[in-house]
Symmetry: C2
């Protein structure tokens, strides 16, 4: 059943609504999406139970290597069997059960503006662009290492599309020293966007800096900041069965400040995970449960999301593959496991193509459909991600947004009242005629249908006359035109000055080099 | 639940299976697919009932214009109210109910080889390439009117991929006189393919010729031919509310010979149908019911499929649009109506792009997912269709086949036995290690995953060294290499000679000009 959000608000699409007399509006709030389809299972319930049980056995019998001493101490105090020499932690199922009992099933991340708040709960859908890419590419400047200017442009673009709900780390600004890079990225996000920001877990100092900047930028006391989630991090375990120092530290620090950790093992079947879907899910599930447990031991009730990013490698070359049937099935299975836990959860699209071509579009959409049908709460890498995440393509960001916007449209209810059934129009138009000028059409034509972002539906002759522009050429025009607009600042002047002061002070102190 | 076909046969993928010791096979029979997902509704049941009821009212109160006198006579004899002056036929709901009672809910179309037989029934999935295109395009020869040579090449390509189950009229051989064109196309299909052939309904003479050629080519008596379905036609009504002479004649002739009609109104919302999804469905449903009724009046029990091809136009230009959220929703709604009738049914993907770019891939896959989730029995235009059907792209045929093959893979069951859960492998691989050389991997790596048709998963450096070929360039290499192989004849020599004799005789008689 396609159902709209109960909290759907009128006129949310900014610039898309027009005067349409008394006709019913096609009114879609891209900011507030609920899944339109029932989640689709891939395994029977007893097989889901078998995966869950094998994951618990993995944690109990095989254990997980945790490199951070503080995390091992927390686990030991919670009753886990810890060997400090091997750094192995064996986690009993009662510890996991206790964590799952205290982890909240729904929470809201507060953004810079109320209408940007993100509610994380099974049934809701939020989308994030491609993230974590060291490189960027576009038709104008070519492929290159990401820079701060690129990061600024990407935050600007992400801010401009309601269907992207959070600001992920689209690219890595490699022209900024790693010790002070997080100042530049957080400042950019706070000034150019009012959406929920991502924070990297690269050591306690960087995390503390980011939290402080968020407090300054959003004008919050420490108490107010810790009262509600304001940002999120993504914790990729070091599969198989390992959590490194900054990741474990991030889980602890975010939990203690009541900020959101999304625990996402990145398991490529055949590489860092077994070569079967079920086997990879056992590993991924075990690692996610270990991470979730650590957050709840550090602070019961801390907001945390389950995560799964399971795809396969090309077994001829070992190269990562995305958009495969195996990834779709793994997404569906992960959704079953998430629903078993009852936690909001993160899934992902993906694309291994080297250019934004038909392969790239196929792979991102195929895997995104897997995430959609799995009922994911957060769809990561929904737009722009190519080369298995090594590069963020500006053109693909735009063309994938078309797919994400169509998903958002599918989330909206479809009216079927008498007026929509259009019997009068059928009566009005003679056999063999057309409906272009029917009264029913005239009342509705301005808002009846989704207006595409990048699709060109003109016929071949017109399209040729207009320069035979392919989707990438048109996407280039779109992002260039977006970036040519004046930048709107989301920071009041005093907040901006206070942020600059903080950054100057911390920079003079040497910043905070990432911990590895 | 992803379930495999109960009749799944081993080793059907031709050339893909390799020796893999005792490990479980990933064995997918692309020739025999069943839907893996429960069909997704878009409307509540009472709204589906409302659409059905309004469609019945449309037929009863407004009527449908039927240009063929014989068809009006059949309807009159069945109790419909017929006005021969206006050619309007008003069809009571009892006539529709009687037709739905006699239309078979499942049947098999016999192909040239048993393993190519197509079972049409709710729950089954068959796929057809793009069809009905006046033009073709490829990177080597450019865009041009379709020729017989192109038609031959396309039949050859369609034959080569198991995931395409029937041979549709991929392009129109415009270099062959329309009076004898059907001899050339049917001869091509019978000699180059053993799959179920399409026959155009372009007048009784052409249809009789095609049936005769099929009898000759497949060595069947008239009785044997009429005992079971052997071919299919697609009847597009002339929306709104009109059925022209060759279409009505086709419905009658196919029914009388117990061959398959697929009644598919082509309803673009805002053009030949109301500008709302529900309104367009009322019209499409009414027309499909009228066509189905005619087949059952002509011969009760004749094999017939319900069809729906509903998308929208761009309301700024009137241009057809595909892959839109409106098309996806219309597909889902049509599936609900088809399930209400209980008949096998035809749905469609679509693409309005002018070139095989990211827009094209997005649109075909988006609409194809709509058809998949709608539970369609026949997915038409699954590969190669661009420009809203004006052109068949050789490259897009190949790149879309990747999407169709992934769908086929999703139809296969996903094992979760103890071996798949891979606990031993988890035990074998140390934390932070990898599974490339694990025993579990070594046993399975040759058949574990789908092997892509056109995707290139090499990294950017390797991909660049190899010529930085985009998906279209690689697709060109694939179809060229396929066509470079020797043509396998599916016609024994005596059948071939008999066919040639028939064609020579009919050609000397002037052939059979299409009826309009």
């Amino acid at each position: 059943m396609i159902e709209g959000s109960e909290k759907r608000r009128e006129g949310r699409r900014g610039g898309r609504r027009r005067d349409r007399g008394s006709a019913p509006a096609r009114d879609v709030d891209y900011r507030n999406l609920r899944h339109p389809f029932p989640a689709v299972p891939v395994f029977s319930e007893d097989r889901v139970e078998a995966i869950h049980d094998k994951a618990l056995r993995t944690l109990e019998d095989l254990g997980i290597k945790i490199l951070l001493p503080e995390a091992r101490t927390l686990f030991r105090d919670a009753g886990a069997l810890v060997d400090d020499e091997t750094q192995m932690v064996r986690i009993g199922r009662e510890i996991v059960a206790s964590a799952l009992a205290s982890a909240p099933r729904q929470f809201t991340i507060r953004a810079g503006a109320e209408h940007r708040d993100v509610q994380l709960e099974l049934g809701h859908l939020t989308i994030q662009s491609g993230a974590g890419c060291p490189n960027v590419t576009d038709l104008v400047h070519g492929r290159r290492p990401g820079s701060l200017a690129d990061f600024e442009d990407l935050v600007q673009l992400i801010q401009g599309y309601d269907v992207l709900h959070m600001v992920g780390p689209a690219t890595e600004p490699q022209d900024v020293d790693p010790a002070v890079r997080h100042y530049a990225t957080m400042r950019t996000i706070l000034s150019r966007s009012d959406k929920v920001p991502f924070v990297y877990s690269r050591g306690p100092e960087q995390v503390a800096d980011a939290f402080e900047m968020l407090r300054i930028g959003r004008d919050l006391s420490k108490e107010a900041f810790e009262a509600e989630p304001r940002c999120y991090t993504i914790i990729n375990t070091n599969s198989p069965r390992q959590i490194d120092i900054p990741m474990a530290q991030g889980l602890i620090d975010f939990a203690r400040s009541r900020q959101v950790s999304i625990v996402t093992p990145f398991c490529l079947m055949g590489a860092m995970a077994p070569v079967s879907i079920a086997g990879a899910l056992v590993l991924s599930h075990a690692e996610a449960l270990a991470g979730i447990a650590l957050t709840q031991i550090a602070r019961p009730g801390a907001p945390v999301c389950y995560g799964a990013f399971v795809s396969n490698v090309d077994l001829k070359s070992g190269a990562p593959a995305f958009g495969t049937p195996e990834q779709v099935k793994a997404n569906l299975a992960a959704g079953q496991l998430a629903r078993k836990l009852g936690l909001p959860w993160r899934c992902a699209a993906g694309c291994a193509a080297n250019i934004n071509d038909a392969q790239a579009a196929h792979e991102t959409q195929m895997s995104a459909w897997g995430a959609m049908l799995a009922g994911c709460t957060i769809l990561v890498h929904g737009a722009g991600w190519i080369e298995g995440g090594l590069t963020l393509s500006f053109e693909k960001l735009i063309t994938d947004l078309e797919t994400m916007q169509v998903f958002a449209e599918l989330c909206a209810p479809t009216p079927v009242d008498d007026a929509e059934l259009a019997f009068d129009a059928l009566q009005e138009v003679a056999p063999g005629g057309h409906f272009f000028a029917a009264a029913h059409t005239m009342e509705r034509y301005q808002t009846a249908f989704y207006e595409p972002l990048v699709a060109d539906w003109s016929n071949f002759g017109t399209w040729t006359e207009r320069g035979a522009k392919d989707a990438n050429t048109r996407a280039t025009e779109i992002w260039k035109s977006r970036l040519a607009k004046p930048v709107e600042s989301h920071l009041p002047e005093d907040r901006s000055a206070a942020l600059d002061g903080f950054i100057a002070k911390r920079t003079s102190e040497g910043g905070a080099p990432p911990v590895s």
